[in-house]
Subunit: 114 residues, 2 copies
């Protein structure tokens, strides 16, 4: 296995030198993993309409309360959504504007309208 292109060799060297730390790479991977399942993406699309409690999220995306609750836990652990208690309910919202921006960029990439 070999390749004579000096440009590639230089790029590979630069890549090794500028590679993000293992820890940063893992956090990044975890964030993308959190939003890489259709069930969780649907929750994010739902929350784009505004904050909602679990009951209404279930109404919006379908599925069981337990499944949605597990999905919300993963999204929250990844820092993609945040939550606050309001009486008996827990209200969820997108964590920040980066989340929507990433979704919209990805949609642009796929030429799909959302």
């Amino acid at each position: 296995m070999d390749c004579a292109e000096d440009r590639h060799a230089l790029a590979a060297k630069a890549a090794r030198e500028n590679m993000p730390s293992q820890e940063e790479t893992e956090r990044l991977a975890a964030s993308f993993k959190a939003i890489s399942e259709t069930a969780r993406l649907k929750i994010l699309f739902a929350l784009r309409q505004g904050e909602m409690c679990v009951y209404h999220i279930v109404e919006a995306v379908g599925g069981t309360q337990s499944a949605v609750s597990h999905q919300l836990r993963l999204l929250k652990a990844a820092g993609v959504v945040r939550s606050r208690r309001d009486g008996q309910n827990i209200v969820y919202a997108l964590a920040d504007s980066h989340v929507v921006a990433v979704l919209e960029l990805a949609c642009a990439h796929l030429h799909c309208k959302i």
Copy 2:
């Protein structure tokens, strides 16, 4: 399970009405899944330095030729990278500027520098 907030009910209704199609949601999920593993993220960071053949990608990110090749296949299937043959080598590059933009947004979200 219930909730009296009219705002949530309206948001849920809007969410159901504006939910992207199943097919679009699945393509989006597949794209994020492709970039949600540290090994594949490293390949993307490497290719940010410029296009490279498989040999140099292996040099840049480590791992076996077979593993990297499988990872490249997934990235390509997801439309994240593109490839062209150059003699005996196959040269890979990031598919378009959206890819880097998504990476940079996600890094901003995590407050990490790349």
